[in-house]
Symmetry: C2
Subunit: 458 residues, 2 copies
């Protein structure tokens, strides 16, 4: 099939949409290390987990063996409201770069949450509703996850309480209004509404917050409220499971046109988008069916993969969660205030951490100014104004395409365009006004975070 | 075909996308009255028009006879980047309303401009580029048109100067940054950068501006700059021509599933979305092939159709444009400051004015609080957070669906969901905080606008 027969946007038909999620862990020989109870240092049990999480989600979190899990009908119906998302052939970008590479991106921004986060939000809200709960609590960074969860909860009639990282709450006031439109309550974090929030505020007055802080507060709010559970938008294995719809749709769309990717690229904060996007490619690679370069892109200012340590650490700043073995900068690590947007989590999905450790995937980091430069270039050429998070993947996709231009290789590059930047205009404004700066933490800066890692690593 | 076989979203294939625009005027027995030169009161000539507009666009403006006009290949390529837009079956809304009606909406918000405006922006920028111009000037109200034009100009490498209605410039600061991302210059209007702007500021100090003012400034800026022409996002017949892609895609999608609509609903400010959406339905109605109720929905605070006069009037506040025969509130009419968002133009497309005058279509007006209530309800049920403009159509679609519930009629309702409300969160915030008010101008209020209508009506 000649390239020009491939449409600008490949949309699957409804009947081609995935009906099962893909559980990468089932295909991994080296399973991710189990979550540990920080008190006993024993693997967390289903019972312990079910205090914090909905039971069905706790089961999914612990399930390392079921390769495919049926997507409930009500979730499939909701998916049909905003999915399938298009796999876009970046014809214009290719032409502008004058590259022989073929570039595709899976665009997850065409829903009001503005990102892929809705894929897991509706799943988590569904299981909470199914368990008869009143509501859920959560944290949000850039605000995409909070918006997604608000939408899912509004649809199902669940109460939704969001702790929003303070710097984002202030930089993105309109996100709060979107969440309110969907009926959610939004609190800037750290706040004085929880014990852990008050403690963090006392120890770090004037802190702009972090995902780690917000998680601690949301967990406390859940366990101290009757009929509530905590839900999380990234990092967890259950979230990667739900996000596998991204990769499964991508794979089906590529197969439909006999396209074999060489490189798959995704931005990585906690790993939800990347883990979802690469799921079927990891499966095929582990099964020896195909080979791909799978690349995680993270900000140089929060480099968990590329400069972190692969050890047991807390998932939150307040140290109330189980311990996860992952690439981490230390639960006390808070990115510099000049860092714009998301991807500010100190750790990384334990599934992706294991895959990275085993050499199944690679990782690279990029600096902020390069990211915004790529974002603006992409917007002008391909039309879509990307989220800063997504632009990390754009930057590396462009770099790879330019490398093909040098070598003459006709590689096929697929990247995840996780969302739109409509609520990130303050960051874009800083960039336009020349007020944006780069920040790469020194080894000493990072050492402070490492010093806080609990002394439980065997 | 049973209803359940109709997918949530009908996407056309690329090859099914329209390759020609539809010119409604060619099917009208009573043609819209010609634009007049305000000095001579004679119909404006192509030569006169070409001082303000690109030549090809001036030709399209005057063309009342060609029924279909080929869409140039470069525009078709651009369309493929963000079109076709989905025709969505509102299954969830139908279920929530418990109505036997079948509700569809054509969603034009899935592009960075957030609305249908891009359909005409790329066409106008293309013809400007083709004529060898350096750039274009324009006005923007809510900011959707300015964003759309910025995107089109960035794609083609044209300079773009936008005069933005001051109240929107202040209420929607992030729109400015989106335009800047695409390389445009944005000036709040009225400004002191033009003669007409200085005059308006002197006569109405503290004015929050209007589309009429901004048009005057943009026209002056175009005619006084070498290599520039003026482009307009609504009202003009050329814009309705370009926007016919909305209706043509809608009709093709409906035909594909043998769906016969009973009612087609669109919001109306200057008429670009509505005129585009209903184009093929008007054609078939005028040809006696089918009958439909075609409904324009306008804000009660700016009721050109429902309370305006059908007379010759200036298209702008500064009275520098040709005279158009249209339903108008008077070029001096400025909506009350409590009016949120777009649809604030004093006049109406002369094509739609004639069709309304001839009884081919109807019009109704709705108040602001009802509109935002419908918007929020829709967001929670269907997921998409609509632009306030679009929510005017939602409100009437819901009303019609509830009427079907009373009568038991299984009518098929199609409405235009022109865009998203992501840059309208200040208005939503006012609504949430109970600070939004309704405003319906008194007859005396309107009389002031009518008094300013030039005494040229025969």
């Amino acid at each position: 099939m000649s390239a020009k027969e491939i449409p600008y946007k490949i949309y699957l038909e409804e009947k081609e949409m995935p009906k099962q999620w893909l559980n990468i862990r089932a295909f991994m020989k080296n399973k991710p290390a189990p979550l540990l109870n920080p008190g006993t240092l024993e693997p967390v049990t289903l019972e312990e987990m079910s205090v914090i999480f909905c039971e069905e989600l706790a089961k999914q979190e612990l399930d390392e063996t079921t390769p495919y899990i049926d997507i409930p009908g009500e979730i499939l119906s909701f998916y049909k409201m905003y999915r399938p998302s298009p796999l876009v052939r970046a014809y214009c970008l290719e032409e502008r770069l004058q590259t022989p590479a073929k570039i595709y991106y899976k665009f997850e921004g065409n829903n009001t949450s503005g990102s892929h986060k809705l894929n897991s939000a509706i799943a988590q809200a569904y299981y909470a509703k199914n368990q008869g709960l009143k509501g859920v609590t959560t944290e949000t960074g850039a605000g995409q996850w909070g918006t997604a969860l608000s939408m899912a909860c509004a649809y199902l009639g669940l109460d939704c309480r969001v702790y929003m990282v303070k710097v984002s709450y202030e930089q993105k006031p309109f996100r709060r209004e979107v969440m309110r439109t969907y009926g959610a309550t939004v609190t800037p974090s750290p706040s004085d509404s929880t014990e852990v929030g008050r403690k963090i505020l006392k120890e770090h007055p004037g802190t702009t917050g972090s995902l780690g802080c917000a998680i601690s507060e949301a967990v406390e709010a859940a366990v101290s409220s009757e009929g509530y559970r905590y839900v999380l938008g990234s990092v967890l294995s259950q979230v990667l499971l739900h996000q596998s719809v991204i990769g499964l749709e991508t794979k089906t769309a590529l197969d439909k046109y006999d396209i074999q990717p060489d490189i798959v690229i995704g931005c990585a904060g906690g790993g939800s988008n990347l883990g979802g996007l690469i799921a079927p490619f990891v499966r095929d690679k582990l099964l020896g069916k195909a080979d791909y370069r799978l690349i995680a892109v993270e900000p140089a200012s929060c480099p968990s993969f590329t400069r972190g340590r692969y050890v047991y650490d807390f998932c939150d700043t307040g140290m109330v969660t189980p311990l996860a073995k992952m690439y981490t900068l230390g639960a006390g690590f808070i990115p510099a205030p000049n860092h714009a947007g998301g991807l500010r989590y100190h750790g990384m999905s334990s599934v992706l951490s294991q895959l990275y450790h085993d050499g199944v995937m690679e990782a690279t980091s990029v600096t902020q100014l390069d990211v915004f430069k790529a974002a603006e270039e992409f917007a002008r050429i391909e039309g879509i104004l990307p989220a800063p998070e997504s632009a990390h993947a754009i930057k590396v996709a462009i770099d790879e395409a330019l490398r093909c231009k040098e070598t003459g290789e006709e590689k096929t590059i697929v990247f995840g365009l996780t969302g739109t930047g409509y609520f990130d205009m303050i960051a874009y404004e800083k960039f336009h006004d020349g007020k944006m700066t780069d920040y790469v933490p020194s080894d000493e800066d990072l050492q402070k975070g490492f010093d806080g890692i609990p002394n439980v690593n065997l």
